[in-house]
């Protein structure tokens, strides 16, 4: 017979556990941590005023986009305060990369933002190329931009579906999945994989354009504009959708800059900041495209901005196809690469914003340190700023409009 301390009972014990008595089980349902508050913020958050209660949303909830857990403090239907709890998908990707050689590290970064994997490869590949001081062949750069913009469209298509699904619409996600599936299939023809492509290599790409990819791309391009417009017509003119998204989760320019927002979420507040133009990389300076921006800064603006970006991506793809040069797709490099000791930073414009890698080399064949800057993590911070004062249903809409991917948040 042992005496039991409160720490014997797991904080979130199963209700079927025979060691836990009924009273203890009933107590388990409050998401209050079993230790005394560690910070002032924690003490304030876990103190309930009259009429308030906690609602533990996630990690298994239909619309938290993966395994995010959000502790909501609600007063009726109104959200008073909110605390996101992260780490359910933490795999230690940065550390894994530091224990792999430069080629292997790219595989680990692939599943970070698993719906736009090419961008997760692009940034570390660019950082390593800077470390090695390699010149990438121009055809490889064109192929990178071409496949990257296709992946951006696929990612935005999925965003539209998710956003509508979180607002209660059943059909848009299936319509936009048609678009996404066609892109994913053509990228599979190019790279051999549907989701985690592992296509970019240090110094180029793994394999030239092939016939199947080109024929699929041509077929899709001929109807892409029509398809995207029909998807838009389903939502943009829907009174219920517009009334729910307009004026919701408004963030002004100053706050957005303070919260380090980038990408579509920042551009929706009126700052036309795009790394493709602000800090040009690859062949983007040669291409002709606009940086769309909107001034409202609400959920509707974020949604509409992504629609505009899809059209710009189509322009870029068109130009890439017309200007594609001949030549090799890989630079000449030794099998085992050992860059000189040094540091390199490479940022690219992903579908969610600035995706950056900072790599330090110590002269061995493995990176000494690899730091990944993921936009999803940055954007998820502002959920706590935007949500309080809104309703429970709006929490989902705001979270979906910021478009975080939990694979990237938890790394």
């Amino acid at each position: 017979m042992t005496t039991r301390t409160p720490f014997d009972i797991p904080a979130h014990a199963s209700t079927d556990d025979p060691r836990v008595t009924l009273d203890e089980q009933l107590g388990v349902f409050e998401p209050i941590p079993p230790y005394p508050p560690r910070t002032e913020r924690e003490a304030e958050f876990y103190t309930l005023r009259d009429g308030e209660m906690f609602l533990n949303m996630g990690p298994q909830h239909p619309s938290t986009h993966g395994v995010l857990r959000v502790v909501l403090k609600i007063d009726g239907e109104k959200v008073v305060d909110l605390d996101p709890v992260l780490g359910y998908l933490h795999r230690g990707v940065e550390k894994l990369c530091e224990n792999a050689d430069y080629h292997q590290a790219i595989c680990y970064t692939d599943p970070l933002e698993y719906i736009s994997s090419l961008f997760c490869e692009w940034s570390p590949v660019m950082a390593f190329e800077k470390l090695l001081d390699v010149q990438v062949p121009r055809r490889a750069e064109y192929i990178r931009v071409l496949s990257g913009e296709l992946n951006r469209i696929a990612s935005h298509a999925l965003f539209i579906g998710w956003f509508a699904l979180d607002l209660g619409g059943l059909t848009p996600i299936l319509w936009s999945f048609i678009e996404r599936d066609e892109i994913v299939e053509m990228l599979a023809a190019l790279t051999g994989q549907r989701m985690l492509f592992n296509y970019f290599r240090i110094g180029g790409v793994n394999g030239d354009l092939n016939h199947e990819f080109m024929s699929r791309l041509g077929t899709w391009m001929s109807k892409a504009t029509h398809q995207i417009n029909s998807n838009q017509a389903l939502l943009n003119e829907n009174e219920i959708f517009v009334r729910r998204a307009r004026g919701l989760g408004v963030i002004d320019t100053a706050t957005a800059l303070q919260m380090c927002m980038t990408g579509p979420n920042l551009r929706a507040t009126g700052v036309p900041f795009d790394i493709r133009r602000a800090h040009p990389y690859s062949i983007y300076p040669e291409l002709d495209f606009d940086i769309p921006s909107r001034t409202e800064g609400d959920c509707l603006a974020r949604y509409l901005l992504r629609m505009d970006e899809v059209k710009q991506s189509l322009r870029i793809i068109d130009q890439c196809l017309h200007r594609m040069p001949d030549g090799p797709v890989m630079a000449k490099l030794p099998r085992l690469i050992r860059p000189r000791p040094g540091r390199a930073y490479a940022a690219i414009e992903g579908p969610r914003g600035q995706y950056a890698t900072y790599a330090i080399s110590d002269g061995t064949d493995q990176p000494y340190r690899m730091r990944i800057h993921d936009p999803s993590f940055i954007h998820l911070q502002s959920v706590g700023l935007l949500t309080p004062g809104n309703l429970i249903a709006d929490t989902m809409a705001i979270m979906a409009s910021l478009d975080p991917i939990m694979g990237g948040v938890d790394k």
Binding site: L22, L167, G168, G169, L170, R244
Partner: protein
């Protein structure tokens, strides 16, 4: 082993079944005959004395049994129609075009574990689905399906209908409260707020119709719309129709007003902790509610079982054989063989493996089926309740389709928009409609 035992061993399985069933049946039949001979007269006398009661019990049983197949049909319809709107196939494995899938769903729900969570208020938790289901079934009792085909013709039919609809919210609130789950609680409270708010415009919108018809009996309201298309109340009460349809959508908890079970917000609302057949009851009740909402809309505003044009129903099967003369003889002798050949010929021509005599047999079978169907069909159409039922069901399923269509296309509204819409728009519109109708009746009748 005895002789009987050896004989039993030698029987096949069907033989064993028959050897048990035939003697048992004989004994039971004899017993039943004796029972009828002894107390049959008294039972018949009792039934004759209490005919309204018997009628009520039979009608209630039929209505209760009718809910399950109609719910299955609507569930299948929803799966298939939404699938087509989503550009996918939908169910296509079980039965022809997947039509048996909803039956399989029902069986699956029956076989699942019936789980009661720790901390739940067990009696309330158990009773909640029953309350929800029974309130749906009971409101079905006053719905007039066809002339003479209704459970009970109350003179307060509409009032009874709304009272029963209001009972649903009690069940949902019970489910939400007793589940010991915050999502369930939110769902229950949302349903209470929603149903109570929409009950007011719903009831007020039909007051105009009640003024016009002069009665609250649904049967009388339908009878008052007899005639053609333009005698329906939708033309005299267009605003009331719009208000009524929106409010009845909210009452049935359907998209865009399905906040009580909003899966992207509060998981499954009041049904979060339910599993097995208890969940099945909620599920059935939802689809029965869709049927009821459509049926009520049709009965109050779209003429119920009245045809949209003045057709001489029931069909007068006026056939005078004598007028044909020699034609009758020719028709009777040459008609059937000719029809058999004509019906069988396509099979002979299209399939080389079918011989001509086989094709003739097929033709004979088809001719018989068609002849019997024609005679029976005409005979049934001469009953006005069959025609009425067909019209009623046709109109009702148009509205069921509309509900499914809305679910396929519309997102969900927010709770404050929902409440604001009810109190700021629907209620004033219903009141305006009521005052205008009352004023018009006052002026025109003077």
């Amino acid at each position: 082993m005895t002789v009987v035992g050896r004989t039993w061993e030698r029987l096949t399985i069907p033989g064993k079944i028959l050897a048990v069933v035939i003697p048992l049946g004989a004994v039971l039949t004899a017993g039943l005959a004796i029972l009828i001979a002894v107390i049959g007269g008294a039972v018949v006398q009792f039934l004759v004395d209490n005919l309204p009661l018997v009628r009520f019990v039979v009608a209630a049983t039929i209505v209760l049994l009718m809910t399950v197949p109609s719910a299955f049909l609507i569930i299948y319809m929803e799966m298939k129609v939404i699938a087509l709107m989503n550009l996918r196939y939908g169910p296509d494995r079980v039965g022809p075009f997947g039509s048996a899938l909803s039956v399989v769903h029902g069986l699956k729900v029956l076989m699942k574990e019936d789980f009661t969570p720790t901390g739940a208020d067990v009696p309330v938790f158990t009773l909640a689905p029953v309350v929800v289901y029974m309130s749906s079934v009971m409101s079905l009792l006053v719905l007039p399906f066809a002339p003479g085909l209704f459970g009970q013709d109350f003179n307060i039919g509409l009032l009874y209908f709304f009272a029963m609809g209001g009972l649903t919210v009690v069940g949902l609130l019970m489910a939400g409260w007793s589940s010991f789950n915050k999502y369930s609680l939110l769902g229950g409270l949302r349903s209470a707020a929603q149903v109570i708010s929409y009950e007011i415009p719903l009831t007020l919108s039909v007051v105009g119709v009640i003024l016009l018809a002069g009665t609250m009996s649904l049967n009388q309201i339908v009878l008052g719309q007899a005639g053609n298309l333009f005698d329906w109340y939708i033309w005299r009460q267009p605003l009331a129709f719009v208000v009524f349809f929106i409010a009845v959508t909210a009452e049935a908890n359907r998209t865009p007003f399905d906040l009580t079970e909003a899966d992207s917000e509060i998981v499954a609302g009041f049904a979060t902790e339910y599993s097995g057949m208890r969940f099945g009851f909620f599920f059935f009740a939802e689809y029965v509610n869709v049927f009821i909402a459509s049926g009520l809309t049709v009965a109050v505003f779209l003429g119920g079982w009245n045809a949209p044009f003045n057709w001489p129903w029931p069909v007068a099967v006026g056939l005078d054989p004598g007028s044909l003369g020699i034609g009758l003889l020719l028709l009777l002798t040459l008609g059937p063989p000719l029809a058999i050949v004509v019906l069988g010929l396509p099979f002979y021509l299209l399939n080389s493996r079918i011989r001509f005599w086989q094709a003739l047999i097929i033709g004979f079978g088809l001719f018989n089926v068609i002849a019997v169907a024609a005679v029976l069909g005409l005979a049934f159409l001469s009953f006005d309740w069959v025609v009425g039922l067909l019209w009623f069901m046709g109109k009702t399923y148009v509205f069921v389709f509309t509900f499914v269509w809305m679910r396929g296309t519309l997102p969900r509204v927010r709770i404050d928009q929902l409440m604001g819409f009810a109190w700021k728009w629907l209620l004033p519109a219903a009141l305006l409609n009521l005052f205008v109708t009352a004023f018009a009746i006052l002026v025109l009748n003077r």
